[in-house]
């Protein structure tokens, strides 16, 4: 069971990392326009003409 010494902090660190990523995305305004974001993913990058 000594493996817990590594695994538990690792699991918590991963969780904290996820939370940090979420908070960053929130702060970055990623949730301000959910409708638009859905379409941007499939929009063409280059002007069509």
């Amino acid at each position: 069971m000594e493996v817990l010494v590594y695994l538990v902090p690792l699991a918590i660190a991963l969780g904290a990392l996820g939370l940090a990523a979420f908070l960053w995305s929130l702060k970055n305004g990623q949730y301000d326009d959910l409708d638009g974001a859905a379409w941007r993913a499939i929009a063409d990058d280059e002007p069509a003409g």
Binding site: A11, I12, A43
Partner: protein, 730 residues
């Protein structure tokens, strides 16, 4: 022809020589529009960023200071086929957005903590059944405590502060039992962890917080979306005023930049956006939007002009007494305030439920503790069981039951052109049994229209329409609109006070007063038949035609009223207009109950009389004179063309030319209300099932977690049924 707006009021500095402008854009409907606008505007020189927000239909622009005039952007957007207006977020909208952001952040923290704690809890649950060492279990419990306690302290603050505020005001709301439940669960779990016990409830507590925050966020998001849309509508109205910057020079400025004391110019065909007093000039003015009276009044120096007044004949110089949001009659403002207070006494369904709920739950928990003590259990065990009862009854499903339905129903309402001003409007609309309509601007369309269009030959109509484009008179504008005229005729001259004339193929054409066109007889005939009508005559060579111009009834009004009657709703018309006009409309629409020449006070009196006899009245109106009645009624709606004050006083605003949204709003609300009640009953049924188990002391953390998520899921799924209404839309 059209002067450009002065944008300086809306420009913001974005640091390091950049300027920022927010535009509300009409016509953005899909991803294609988004890509087109962004691509084209970013190509303009000096533009550093152009980003469309598809959710609230806005465009944020940034460019290097100096070279570009912001009017260029609006021009470019117009070339692309979009109308854009500068936009300034209202204070309320900014606050709502901030609040939603904070809720989402707390929800994120709670959800991540819940996930991580669940990772620790599942081994403990399975370990309890097999061979986990007590030391390992304690270790996992402590770890859970370290994760949950700070997360809960942060994430549950909205509940704590709301409960504290309620308790200080000596009342109880839903957040009181929630806070007590959370605090007791956490405290007990900490104590149990310290005493090496088998069961702790950290996971249940943080999960509860996460679910409840999800409900709050949904609720908040719905309000935010409506507010953003309403903000756009205000911007799209593009209210500008022509302001004198010195004695002769005028400039078109946004209405937000007008201050009391300024002098503005009101030209024929314009709607005043300010309250003020006439300094010079003489004009007929149409105050139907304010008083419901359709006959024009005459304004001379010294007359008062109110926002919403349509200037019909001459230009006026007006000194502004109140601009923009401050505009309204003081008497109406007083009535409005009183009426608003009366409505705030309405108790929301959720509040009623929580008033019943808190005492029952707390009594049950107390009873459980006493019962176990009497039965001979230790004090510790009795308290643990009682707290388990509190945890399992914590109103998780209850907290989601109503916001979930509200969110989905308001989405459905949004889809058929109804914007809600207040979250509890759905509950009140569902209970309506009588609908009172105002006539002018509500049952009729606010714009004038040609009533005898079928009697006029198409080619005459077309020429008259093109000729009418050269006049600013509202009656002529109605002819131009009805003809769908786009291209004005060339070399048209205006005869002041008479009309416009020009020459086509060597034949003289005139549009204007019947006497000027020699069409007195025909005009007199029309006026005798329908005194409400304004007439304008058209003459080509020796041939005359007379256009009867009046406000037209909304195209589907009669149908909608018939359908409402079939739904069991009583329909009534209360109008400030004169009797013959109201009688004609009532007869045409098949409404037997109507009253004419009703003052604002009279409207309130009628609504109160109906309220005393136990009727739940919905008022639908648009004028300034309707605003107090809108606020006094049990619930209210107004068309989007209504005055600011009426829109603010109404529970909901509907878009478009049709009256159908009023009927749909009631239908959707009724269905949503049924679902809310069902959800509350589901929550009660869940409690009836779960509480006896908890009282018996059989609830383990596993059961608590399963029960909580199960009931929340059930309530959410039931709420989604509110969406189905959409299919019944015409």
């Amino acid at each position: 022809m059209e002067s450009t707006i002065d944008f300086s009021h809306y420009l913001k500095r974005a640091g390091s020589g950049l300027l920022h402008l927010d535009l509300a854009v009409e016509g953005i409907s899909c991803a294609g529009c988004m890509a087109k606008i962004e691509r084209n505007l970013s190509k303009m020189p000096d533009v550093t960023s152009a980003r469309v927000n598809l959710t609230n239909r806005r465009l944020a622009l940034e460019w290097r200071e100096g070279a570009i005039d912001p009017a260029l952007f609006v021009g470019r957007l117009a070339e692309l086929g979009y109308k854009a207006y500068p936009f300034e977020p209202a204070g309320a909208e900014t606050r709502e957005a901030e609040c939603a952001r904070s809720l989402l952040r707390r929800l994120g923290v709670a959800a991540f903590a819940a996930m991580n704690v669940m990772m620790l809890s599942v081994p403990v649950w399975s370990g309890n059944a097999s061979d986990m060492l007590p030391e390992q279990r304690d270790f996992f419990h402590w770890l859970s405590a370290v994760i949950v306690l700070p997360a809960a302290a942060y994430a549950a603050q909205p509940f704590f502060s709301s409960a504290y505020a309620a308790l200080r005001g000596r009342s109880v709301n839903m957040d009181v039992p929630i806070s007590i439940g959370i605090i007791l669960a956490l405290a007990m779990s900490l104590f149990e962890t310290a005493t090496h016990a088998e069961h702790v409830y950290f996971d249940a507590a943080i999960m509860l917080i996460a679910f409840l925050l999800a409900g709050r966020y949904l609720d908040q998001n719905m309000r935010r979306r409506t507010r953003a849309f309403a903000g756009n509508l205000a911007a799209l109205k593009a209210e500008t005023a022509t302001k004198f910057i010195d004695d002769d020079e005028i400039r078109t400025v946004p209405i937000a930049a007008i201050r009391p004391g300024d002098i503005v110019l009101l030209r024929p065909g314009e709607r005043s956006a300010v309250d003020g007093t006439v300094i010079s000039g003489r004009s007929e003015m149409d105050q139907s939007l304010i008083t419901g009276e359709t006959l024009p009044a005459t304004a001379v120096a010294g007359s008062a002009v109110y926002a919403g007044t349509l200037i019909r004949s001459g230009a006026l110089r007006v000194r502004v007494s109140a601009a923009s949001e401050g505009t309204l009659l003081s008497e109406i403002s007083q009535l409005l305030e009183n009426a608003m207070q009366a409505r705030s006494r309405y108790l929301r369904l959720a509040e009623r439920a929580s008033r019943l709920y808190a005492p029952v739950v707390h009594a049950t928990a107390l009873l459980t503790m006493v019962g176990w003590l009497v039965a001979g259990a230790t004090l510790h065990d009795s308290i643990v069981t009682a707290i388990a009862v509190l945890i399992i009854t914590c109103p998780c499903a209850l907290g989601l039951a109503i916001p979930a339905v509200q969110t989905i129903a308001s989405g459905a309402l949004f889809g058929c052109g109804v914007l809600l001003n207040s979250g509890d409007a759905i509950e009140r609309m569902a209970e309506v049994d009588r609908v009172i309509f105002d006539k002018t601007g509500t049952l009729t369309l606010p714009e004038l229209d040609v009533a005898n269009a079928t009697a006029i030959p198409a080619d005459v109509f077309e020429v008259a329409g093109r000729l009418a484009l050269s006049s600013r008179h509202p009656v002529a504008a109605a002819v131009a609109r009805a003809a769908g005229a786009k291209a004005p005729l060339e070399d048209i001259e205006e005869e002041p006070g008479q009309g416009v004339r020009g020459v086509i193929d060597g034949i003289e054409v005139r549009l204007g007063r019947p006497s000027w066109c020699g069409a007195d007889v025909a005009a007199h005939e029309i006026l005798c038949r329908d005194p409400e009508t304004s007439v304008v005559a058209f003459r080509r060579g020796e041939v005359c035609h007379v256009f009867a111009v009046r406000q037209r009834v909304r195209p589907d009004a009669a149908e909608v009223i018939a359908r409402m009657n079939r739904m069991g709703l009583a329909v009534e018309i209360l109008s400030g207009d004169r009797e013959p006009a109201v009688r004609a409309a009532a007869t045409a629409l098949g409404v037997p109950q109507w009253r004419a020449e009703v003052s604002p006070i009279g409207k309130i009196a009628r609504i109160e009389e109906l309220a005393r006899s136990g009727q739940k009245v919905m008022m639908v109106g648009d004028g300034l004179n309707d605003a107090p009645a809108l606020a006094a009624a049990y619930t209210s709606m107004s068309p989007v063309t209504a005055t600011h004050v009426s829109q603010a006083a109404a529970d909901a605003v509907f878009l478009g030319e049709r009256l159908a949204p009023v009927e749909l709003a009631i239908r959707i609300s009724r269905k949503a209300f049924r679902l809310m009640q069902q959800n509350l009953w589901l929550a009660v049924a869940y409690n009836l099932l779960a509480v006896p188990i908890a009282m018996a002391g059989l609830v383990t953390p596993l059961i608590a977690a399963a029960a909580m998520s199960g009931s929340s899921l059930l309530v959410m799924l039931n709420a989604i049924r509110a969406r189905r209404q959409k299919r019944e839309m015409p």
